[in-house]
Symmetry: C2
Subunit: 147 residues, 2 copies
DNA sequence: TTTCATATTTGAAACCATTACAAATTTATA
DNA sequence: TATAAATTTGTAATGGTTTCAAATATGAAA
């Protein structure tokens, strides 16, 4: 059961260690902590957001290591990079194809679980599709309530 | 007839001048030349691509002016900014909602004229949509032929 | 455990797209 | 023509990301 596997791995050190190992990545202390952050937080964080939290546990960690680790995770398909704001890259532990929504009011990024028929088919206008990035921008449900 | 208006304005100095004036932008020599470039080239250029061409006609123009003008055009909805490559902003004279396709082989960016039902409706998951950026990445028709 | 080769981490410097800013220039108006 | 306002220019600053070489940690072999 895939969803059960996911639950077990979330947060626990043994879980993230296995995730790294089965991706062919040496599970160093720093990488484990960074992946743990991504599994525990579904907030599409920036490098700085990750660094600011992880440095509390590993005071000697450098920002370069965060960059290196994330680039490695992206390469091994453990993480999806988003460029929705235009100013910096955000990272999503959810690598299944899905859309994103950026709220202009609160700045939060939400996963949107919808399908694109063209992406599903694999082609548009005779062009072969490998990736789709669907970014909505607007006002989220919570901010709409606030008026 | 809108499409006919468009044809007339393409490239001609009087056309782009009217475009700027009706957008409430003072039609300076530099702005006219930059908008003319965008109307004549449907290649989703970067700031540098625009600068490199325009500087041939206006040797004294500065890159800052290109940035200033483009930011103004974006503000006045004359131009659409794309962040499809992740490294730099590209500009599209076509501001009607449409998707884009980036070819991983040749690097070209194509307009894709498809509709998103959620965008059309104005809402997803109860979130109010104001913008949609749909970016496909893959291999374009021409590069598929080359093998 | 000790040794050695390899991989990883670190911190500083470089890079590059973009913005900030103040001085110079141009434009519009009277 | 004179004056004020807007625009352009060039340089410097900013900020996210990458490069790189030295320091450190890791893993395998003895």
């Amino acid at each position: 059961m895939v969803s059960n596997m996911k639950k077990i791995s979330e947060g626990s050190t043994v879980g993230v260690k296995n995730v790294l190992k089965s991706a062919g990545i040496k599970p160093t202390y720093e990488r484990l902590r960074i992946l743990k952050y991504l599994e525990e937080n579904n907030n599409h964080p920036t490098v700085n957001m990750i660094y600011d939290e992880v440095v509390k546990d590993i005071p000697t960690i450098s920002k370069t290591t965060v960059y290196n680790s994330l680039n490695l995770f992206v390469e091994k398909d453990l993480v999806l990079p988003l460029v929705i704001t235009g100013t910096e890259v955000r990272y999503d532990r959810n690598t299944k194809p899905h859309h994103h929504f950026l709220c202009e009011k609160c700045g939060k990024i939400y996963d949107i679980d919808i399908e694109c028929p063209y992406f599903k088919k694999g082609y548009v206008d005779g062009y072969k599709i490998k990736e789709l990035h669907g970014y909505f921008k607007g006002i989220c449900k919570e901010c709409l309530k606030i008026k």
